[in-house]
């Protein structure tokens, strides 16, 4: 009996030793040299593997960082400037700061504003519906509401609002990786700079339809009337193809365009006075004093912005 036990112990240990020797030999023999800095860079990255940087994952991005001479084209949108600074520190290089971005949803065609004329019946996938036809409503540019962007989001920063049937972006969670932008077949989601104190003004519509059909299809569509363009003193708004676009860099956040928009298509986010988007009825007249104040602060803001840039 003892003999069996001893024999077992000896065999198993010798198998272990031989295996260890083979493994050690193999690891030495087939060693591939890798820049140790790649590991260090990878550690500094958020390891989300979201692909927002344009590389398949964090490791290839780290390799690219190590190889690159300058970081002009390399940017980790998830980690932001801090991460890039950390990466630069590891590699002993310099990095210029980039504005932090956030995804914004440029369709406000909630069910109450946009009547459904048809009923889509089929696979619940926006791209499939997009290839089939313009959508359940008369607006062929707007959100289809099947939530492909929500599925694409790897950071739980989006959800579908069951009432409006539109996706909602949770700002604090959004890393601006761009997955939703890519997923949306209608190109509704845009990455815009977060802005000062997260304040943003943007046109929440992508319809290139002419005013008549546009308004018929959706009561909150941009009809390209040009009122905002006339109102803006900073040349931040341009109208192209019956659609207004606010340049986030030129915009000084004066909020004047928001007030003049006849269809409430321009949205303001994170402004102190009205956190909720103004509805058509709530188009309150702002007092003179307030307006002046706003312009002042806006100008100051823009100055500060310019300085930091």
């Amino acid at each position: 009996m003892n003999g069996v036990v001893i024999a077992t112990i000896i065999t198993i240990s010798s198998v272990g030793i031989i295996a260890a020797i083979i493994l050690y030999w193999a690891s030495q023999k087939f060693k591939v040299f890798e820049d140790p800095r790649i590991d260090e860079v990878e550690d500094a990255l958020p390891s989300a593997n979201c692909g927002g940087c344009g590389f398949p994952g964090c490791r290839p991005f780290a390799e690219a960082c190590v190889k690159a001479d300058d970081f002009e084209d390399l940017y980790c949108p998830v980690g932001g400037n801090e991460t890039m600074m950390a990466v630069a520190k590891v590699l002993g290089k310099k990095v210029s700061e980039k504005a932090k971005m956030v995804a914004v949803m440029k369709c406000n065609g909630a069910t109450q504003f946009r009547k459904k004329h048809t009923e889509y019946d089929g696979a619940l996938n926006c791209t499939i519906q997009h290839n089939l036809y313009g959508g359940e409503t008369a607006c062929q540019y707007g959100c289809l509401g099947l939530g492909e962007c929500v599925d694409a989001c790897g950071f739980d920063a989006m959800y579908m609002d069951p009432e409006t049937e539109l996706p909602v972006i949770i700002e604090d969670m959004c890393t601006a990786c761009g997955a939703c932008v890519e997923a949306c077949p209608k190109d509704i989601i845009e990455l815009r700079p977060v802005g000062k104190k997260s304040k943003r003004i943007f046109v929440s519509c992508v319809s290139h339809e002419k005013a008549g059909p546009s308004k018929k299809a959706c009561s909150v569509a941009c009809i390209g009337c040009g009122l905002c363009f006339k109102e803006c003193k900073y040349d931040a708004i341009k109208i192209e193809n019956v659609l207004a676009y606010i340049d986030p860099i030129k915009c000084v956040l004066c909020r004047k365009c928001v007030v003049v928009c006849p269809t409430s298509a321009i949205w303001e986010v994170n402004f102190p006075a009205r956190k909720v988007k103004p509805t058509i009825e709530k188009k309150t007249k702002l007092t003179e004093i307030k307006e002046i104040d706003l312009i002042k602060t806006a100008k100051e803001n823009s100055k500060k912005d310019n300085k930091t840039e």
Binding site: D121, G122, A123, N125, L132, Y133, G134, E209
Partner: protein, 444 residues
Amino acid sequence: MLKTFAKGGIHPPENKFSADKKVERLPIPKKVSVPVSQHIGAPSKVIVKKGDIVKTGQLIAEQSGFVSANIHSPVSGKVFKIDLVTDTSGYRHQAIIINVEGDEWDEKIDRSEDLKRDFDFSSEQIIKKIQQAGIVGLGGATFPSHIKLMPPKDTKAEILIINGVECEPYLTSDHRLMLEKGEEILVGIQILMKALRVEKASIGIENNKQDAIYNLKKLVKNYKNIDIVSLKVQYPQGGEKQLIKAITGREVSSGALPIVVGAVVHNVGTAYAVYEAVQKNKALIERVVTITGKSVTKPGNYLVRFGTPIKDLIDAAGGLPEDTGKIIGGGPMMGKALNTTDIPIAKGTSGILILPKEESKRREVKPCIRCAKCIEVCPMGLEPYLLMTLAEKAMHERSEKEDVMDCIECGSCSYTCPSDRPLLDYIRLGKTQVGAMRRAKSMK
């Protein structure tokens, strides 16, 4: 033993209600909207402007690229405006809207009903005439016909195959055409043979159209080198590759054109249009459209000018039934569901099918039980279950390797799936994504 294609295929209920209804002429509407993209390829370029007076058969939009086709005014009247109109694609596209005034035809057009058998044109002249007349494949694919008549340099056409299969359930427009315009079609085939310089032509007709086969067999005795092939009823026999396989026994390989096996396929409707264009100088401005459905009171076949809203056609057939759930442009297997009744009839509209509500809804999707029935019925030998999974998981490179681009979108897989899975929906998604991937690659 009747000929058919090699693998797969299904046999859905035929439901050809309008097979015995004579083709009638639909009255010209007050206003037509003619979309400028009625064919595959680049949209045509509008050459009229608001306020212009146009005659029936006059060119109003011209070819704007290699794969493109001319468009002629289907009516006479005044151009009201050029605007966006929802067309069969489900999107708003550019269209020429014409207010109809009378019905004055272009002088060159021979409007008599007499049969004109003899022609004396060279191959090039015929192709030119077909190109000018804006003829596209009338089977539904709407590929410009003149391109098919000009085979690439290193290939040679041996046989012209005329598609009179009409394997789609419900539709009868080709069937009626073969019955009523048999002789004209045969002359059209002779013209096409001359254009292609081929010695042989076969007309493939499914065995459920006995009267059409009988009619054409009787007429064909006066014409040389044309034979009528009756085929077993099997969907999708009307698919180009399937039809070539059924008639010649040759298989067109993946990604190749039929011309590599020496075959050129045209629809019977196209052959008739070619006859009219070459012998009567009449451009493609109207076609036979079937209006049908189980709940339609008067299903029938109508000769309709392009640009007529489908509403008019439905009214002619007894109005829209109460329980309508879906209106389909084309047949139930490959047709496109339409989203309004204002959509104008275009070159590719072979039929309007109205489905009642209870037949319109998809059934509840259940998990795949891997019964392999989709593989059994796929006429292209693909694995639909796998392609669907790959498309769902966005594994587009793998689905390219699994030959997703070979799919002819016949819908046999979705039809047969016991779990009612939207197989073709996802395969189409895979195809668009792989197509986009290929384009992106070729750009680099």
